[in-house]
C-alpha cells in the first residue's frame, strides 16, 4: 500500500528550467488583443448583452455596467494595509490548521497550503488593479513565501447540462462565490500583521493550478485542470499569498495519473478536439498533458450565443460525481492499490463509468425559463443539405 501524500506530484514533472509566464500571454488578454482573430475578439466584447446572467457575472466584455458586475467591483477593490501590530506565530502547524478552518468558515470547500514557487508567479500583469496604481504590463514582484489555495465547488447537476445557459450561470456563480472568502482571508491575515494578497477571478498574479496540485488539493488531469478526489474538476480556484508562517501540505496521489492514461473521456468528448489522446509533452520545463488552448477558446464561437464556457471536460471527467459513498470507495480503492496493479482496477471502473453515466455525460434540465434540450440544427449556407447535428449527437473523437 502506498501513502497518499507524496513528496512531489505524480501528475506533472519538472524536466528543466521554467520561464515565468507573462499574464499577457494567457488566453483572455490574447483574445482581447485580437490575436485569436477579430471574430473571437468581437464575440468576447459583445456577448454581455445576451443574457442577464452573463451581465451580472461579468467576465471580459466591456458593455455591461461595471456596478452590476461584482467581478468588476472586486477586481478593482484596493487591498487594505497590514496591521503594524503583528500576532506572533509560535506553531506554524497550528496556524495552518486555524487558517484552513477560517477559510472554510468564510466559504471555501477545500483548502491547502504550499510554498509559493516563483515559477508559477506571472512575470507581468495583463490588467492590474487600478485602485492600487497597477497598469497592464507592470512587472510582478510577489516575494511571499506561502500560497493558500482555496477551492469552491460548483453544482454537479447544473454542470451536467454542459453547453447551456444553465451550466454557464453555475460557472459564473462559482467564480463570484470565490471572491468574498478569498478577500476575507487575505484581509484577516493582514489584520494579523502579515502581508497577504488575493489572487482570484479576474485578478491572478499566480497560476493557481500547479499551486493547488502542490498544496494537495488534487492532481493535474489530462484536460489540464485540477482533479479533486471528491469534486473532480468542478472547483473554482483562488489563492492567497502571504508571509504568515504556515506548515505546508504535500501533494496527494488519488490515482489521477493512472486513470488519465486509460480514461480519455475528456479527450473523446471535447468538442474542439483540444485535449490530447497521446502522452505528455515537455513544455516550458514541465512534463504534462498539453491541451490546445487556442482551439478550446475558439470553440466558444460555435456556441451560437448559448453559452460562454463549455465545461464538457469537467462534467465528463470520471472523478466528477455527486457526493456518494460509492464514489469515495472507488477513489480510495484506486488510491490504496499499488501503482503497477492499478490498471486492473481502473479498466473495469471505467467500463462501469461509461455504463452508468454515459460516454458523453449530459443532462436535460429545465430551470427558470431555460431548457437545454438539443435544438434542431439549421444550416445558414444556402443549399447545404449535409446532416449537421447538435453537440449531444456528434460522434466521439477516437484519436
Amino acid at each position: 500500500m502506498l501513502k497518499s501524500k507524496q513528496a512531489s506530484p505524480r501528475s506533472y514533472r519538472i524536466a528543466g528550467p521554467q520561464r515565468r509566464i507573462d499574464e499577457r500571454e494567457t488566453p483572455h488578454p490574447r483574445v482581447d488583443r485580437g490575436e485569436l482573430g477579430e471574430k473571437l475578439r468581437k464575440w468576447r466584447k459583445s456577448r454581455m448583452d445576451v443574457d442577464p446572467f452573463r451581465r451580472v457575472f461579468g467576465g471580459g466584455g466591456n458593455e455591461e455596467d461595471s456596478y452590476n458586475s461584482l467581478y468588476d467591483i472586486y477586481r478593482n477593490l484596493p487591498e487594505g494595509r497590514v496591521n503594524p501590530v503583528k500576532t506572533p506565530v509560535a506553531d506554524p502547524e497550528r496556524m495552518a490548521r486555524n487558517i484552513k478552518e477560517i477559510a472554510r468558515f468564510f466559504g471555501a470547500d477545500v483548502v491547502g497550503i504550499t510554498h509559493l514557487d516563483q515559477a508559477y508567479v506571472y512575470s507581468h500583469r495583463a490588467r492590474g488593479n487600478a485602485a492600487a496604481g497597477e497598469k497592464p504590463g507592470d512587472p510582478i514582484d510577489l516575494p511571499h513565501r506561502y500560497a493558500i489555495c482555496l477551492g469552491f465547488e460548483s453544482d454537479y447537476e447544473k454542470f451536467l447540462t454542459n453547453n447551456s445557459r444553465i451550466s454557464d450561470a453555475e460557472y459564473g456563480l462559482g467564480n463570484i462565490n470565490s471572491l468574498q472568502p478569498t478577500f476575507l482571508l487575505a484581509a484577516y491575515i493582514r489584520e494579523m500583521g502579515y502581508p497577504a494578497r488575493t489572487h482570484g477571478y479576474g485578478r491572478f498574479e499566480v497560476n493557481p493550478i500547479p499551486l493547488a496540485v502542490n498544496a494537495g488539493l488534487g492532481e493535474l488531469g489530462r484536460h489540464g485542470m485540477l482533479i479533486h478526489e471528491e469534486y473532480g474538476s468542478r472547483l473554482h480556484l483562488s489563492v492567497v499569498t502571504t508571509d504568515l508562517p504556515l506548515a505546508v501540505d504535500k501533494p496527494v496521489d488519488i490515482g489521477v495519473e493512472d486513470v488519465c492514461k486509460y480514461c480519455m473521456k475528456c479527450a473523446r468528448t471535447c468538442p474542439s478536439h483540444s485535449i490530447p489522446f497521446g502522452g505528455k509533452e515537455i513544455h516550458n520545463g514541465v512534463e504534462r498533458y498539453r491541451i490546445n488552448v487556442d482551439t478550446c477558446y475558439k470553440a466558444r464561437l460555435g456556441s451560437r450565443g448559448e453559452w460562454g464556457n463549455c465545461v464538457i471536460c469537467v462534467s465528463s471527467c470520471c472523478y466528477n460525481k455527486p457526493k456518494a459513498w460509492w464514489h469515495t470507495l472507488a477513489v480510495k480503492a484506486i488510491q490504496w492499490t499499488p501503482i503497477p496493479l492499478r490498471p486492473l482496477l481502473i479498466r473495469p471502473l471505467l467500463v462501469i463509468d461509461d455504463l452508468f453515466w454515459g460516454k458523453r455525460p449530459w443532462k436535460h434540465m429545465k430551470w427558470l425559463d431555460y431548457d437545454n434540450a438539443p435544438r434542431k440544427m439549421v444550416c445558414t449556407i444556402p443549399g447545404c443539405n449535409v446532416k449537421h447535428v447538435n453537440l449531444q449527437h456528434k460522434k466521439l473523437h477516437t484519436a
Binding site: 482551439t295 475558439k298 440544427m377 443539405n385 449535409v386 449537421h388 484519436a399
Partner: protein, 82 residues
C-alpha cells in the same frame, strides 16, 4: 490557418468529418461532388482529420503540392453564399 478538403473527397463524401466538426463549418449539397470547409468558421481544431477515411483533409500549410489549389476552391465555395 484553416483546414482544407482536397481531391480524395471527390465522389467519396463520407461525412464522418461533419459528425465531429464542433463549428459545423463543413458543407455541401447533393449536387456537389465533394464537401468544403468554410475557412472563416474553421477553428483549426483538426477534429475532422482523423475522421476522414479518404485522408482528404489537411491544414492549409500542409496541403500536398498537387492539391494546393483546393485551399482556394474551398474558400471560393462560400464566396457568394454568406
Amino acid at each position: 490557418m484553416t483546414y482544407v478538403i482536397t481531391e480524395p473527397c471527390i465522389d467519396v463524401k463520407d461525412t464522418g468529418c461533419i459528425d465531429v466538426c464542433p463549428m459545423d463549418c463543413i458543407h455541401g449539397t447533393d449536387n456537389d461532388r465533394m464537401l468544403y470547409i468554410d475557412p472563416e468558421d474553421c477553428i483549426d481544431c483538426a477534429a475532422c482529420v482523423p475522421a476522414c477515411p479518404a485522408n482528404a483533409i489537411f491544414a492549409d500549410s500542409e496541403v500536398p503540392e498537387q492539391w494546393r489549389q483546393y485551399a482556394q476552391i474551398n474558400a471560393d465555395y462560400f464566396r457568394d453564399k454568406k
